[in-house]
Symmetry: C2
Subunit: 513 residues, 2 copies
Amino acid sequence: MASLLRNAGRARPALARLVARPVSRKAPIAPQRNYASASASAVASDSSAPALFPDEPSGPIVRTEIPGPKSKAAVERLGKVFDTRSLNMMGNYNQSYGNYIADLDGNVLLDVYAQIASIPVGYNNPTLQLAASSPEMVSAIINRPALGNFPQHDWADILESGILTVAPKGLDQVFTAQAGSDANELAYKAAFMYRRQQERGGANVDFTEAELASSMTNQSPGAPDLSILSFKKGFHGRLFGSLSTTRSKPIHKLDIPAFDWPVAPFPDLKYPLDQYAAENQAEEQRCLAETERLIKEWHSPPAAVVVEPIQSEGGDNHASPAFFQGLREITQKHNILFIVDEVQTGVGATGKFWAHHHWDLPTPPDMVTFSKKAQTAGYYFANPDLKPNKPYRQFNTWMGDPARAILFRAIIQEIDRLDLVRNTALTGDYLYSGLQRLAEKYPAEILNLRGQGQGTFIAWDSPRRDEVLKKAKGVGINVGGSGERAVRLRPMLIFQPKHADLLLEGLEKVFRS
Amino acid sequence: MASLLRNAGRARPALARLVARPVSRKAPIAPQRNYASASASAVASDSSAPALFPDEPSGPIVRTEIPGPKSKAAVERLGKVFDTRSLNMMGNYNQSYGNYIADLDGNVLLDVYAQIASIPVGYNNPTLQLAASSPEMVSAIINRPALGNFPQHDWADILESGILTVAPKGLDQVFTAQAGSDANELAYKAAFMYRRQQERGGANVDFTEAELASSMTNQSPGAPDLSILSFKKGFHGRLFGSLSTTRSKPIHKLDIPAFDWPVAPFPDLKYPLDQYAAENQAEEQRCLAETERLIKEWHSPPAAVVVEPIQSEGGDNHASPAFFQGLREITQKHNILFIVDEVQTGVGATGKFWAHHHWDLPTPPDMVTFSKKAQTAGYYFANPDLKPNKPYRQFNTWMGDPARAILFRAIIQEIDRLDLVRNTALTGDYLYSGLQRLAEKYPAEILNLRGQGQGTFIAWDSPRRDEVLKKAKGVGINVGGSGERAVRLRPMLIFQPKHADLLLEGLEKVFRS
């Protein structure tokens, strides 16, 4: 752990190979010594890899049924002041470390859910601990600025040495936010303002009196009849605009007023992919054709299409690069914006820093939104016209949070130092092979295994999903679901082949039960 | 400063007098020794009061024009990666202390804008510094839980010893959020779910097939045609739902699709109030009558009315307690919810912990939203039916942030220890008297002075507002505006009579220029 601390916050050569740096800015000069080289040997494709977290437990510890007596008492107490009906497990984060989450009863579980895919580099990661206790962080916490009006003097540094170093290929600007839901809404706002500016004839054309007046009564043309097109089973957040694009489950949407925006079908692929190549291709073409039809015919024209690279909350639904290339083509053809929601897929989990880098697009998405493992949020973009033509149009009091931006910088440094994107790609392949073997052995338990070549972003359908999730706790595994019947794996980026072995052993115990 | 550190995080007897504690929970037992008594002497109604921050500068320091050369260079650099068109002043928060904000050129300004009213107890407050560097805070930053699924074991403690100790009178539950805008949207969602549950016949009545299906296509009845009623010039945030209730200025709303929700007139009072008592009363009655008409006749029935105690962004517009009592009466009569948006007015600024405590309502509001000076966000409520009937209906990944909840707890302790709500009430009276004298001397500069008896939440109209704000920097004062022509004062809670003297002197210099 001492060496972890010593190396924190230095060069990130490994990451440079994985993430395109924007060319229009100078990155701060980093020392040339390759701090990642020593630890790169920890990244390997089998269980012989040295531990990234040597002090981790060697495996799960299950002492009581879960929840145990202490957890039960604590949950009952919490229930008096907080809604505990969705509680899965109460965490004792003082005792959690690396890939392992602890509870109050001394149980320590291998965590492949990771706070709904939002813990990037392990509980109590020493590098993050150092960043979080730095004077810079303390100041950011207690002197939180209104960034649009009174930015702190080192805000450019924090952006340039952190968030912007991992900007997706072709994008070099960022607008910061607080969570995935508002990141998406801010991107939608940028899309609407862009669209209306185009319709109006450019940034220099003034608003009309009719626009000014009608905006104040929520009427067109000031509040225009435009939309965002999203996909069936997509999830983009639960505020009013983002929820209008979320199509995951009724329980997420019931009783909440929503905008009358269009929803296109998302490909419903058949597995294994190689056996259904022609059918799946036809299915993707069908979805693309319907998307194009909606763009042309919907009563409120879409200003943008928003899509997840892998539909996560909605059931781990994948589509091929060809589908996303098709979407990019259609959006360009009809001059509407293409927003990629990487809130859950981003920051390394799929074996690339951004999942859409798997698609090899000829032109980048117009906006890419992020949160979760970034521990901050926002949207990346490049087109200067996506900046509204006047100040205070895209604005709010805090406009992000320097404290969380500092934390993301430390996360990026840790990902780089430990070569974690490569680790996730290699470990993902190892895990996927293991799951294939398990699926052959227990064909009734693992259906539609998916996520090959997508790092550890792997899922399958289970006929007794909720039972599997519950029983997994008994064998020391904390794992989550998505959609109606998918088991979704969302381990941290420090998940190694030896953890995959433990996961596979645990799953086999559950399947045998 | 040593004594500040020593006393941090102890008893809060003073606050107990100012804020009603919910009766249904046991507050953690606090030591009986009165730590506030030593410092209470610092709270006084004139400039003889001992300094709450003895190490503060004795007054502003203006070394260069603002922005000076170093700031200009830094702003230019920031402009390459961040929108600086709304930039007011770049802060050097390492050099800022107490009521004073520093820049990069050695200028140190008395800050009565305080990051758009969001800094509660001074820059680099030592008590907050201690809280922000505690192991508890470090863990909260690096091990951020998905609170709905995996809450940390001390989350009940953090709520009970912090946010809930200052719950408004009659409210004893809280749902946490991240910023004012999403706090309001979550309250709106609670209101819609509550309304539909009533229409449906109670918590145990199942959703219909039609509701389940239509919710997924954003159509009624699943996505119901209901609304939130707000007021002209009100401001409630800038996400899609909150922006639909915001009616401040076109620049906040242009080009963004909005829900067709009703807007009622907010009283346009004449000043001085005592000269226009009858007219103002009639104006408030007119607004109440129109509100009631909209509730009865609007095509999408309102599930709730949302109102700020003092319209802040929209121009510092006040109304009498009678008006708000009338609103409470109308909402009860028509069985719709009453949401008070205390995002800007809350946490002590008006001389009470919550501004709506000035109204002496017979029954509390149904929900009270907060953020800014709380440095976290959420809504308070009491009615158990405001908790949706099933889990995962009011849910998101993070559901607030324990790090910020820990910070709010420290803010509450500091407010209590230094008796800051009383300080704000007394200093506000002192400041208001000074402004009255200034208004008599410069009647063309200070019009419609308002906020008497509302702590330091004071404003006036200025025929040359933007020039006054700009010139104030030259005399060492950082002050903001609201609406079209209001100068709004939003000092921190540690603003004392001696600071008021400096502010009054500075303003007089500006008026003379």
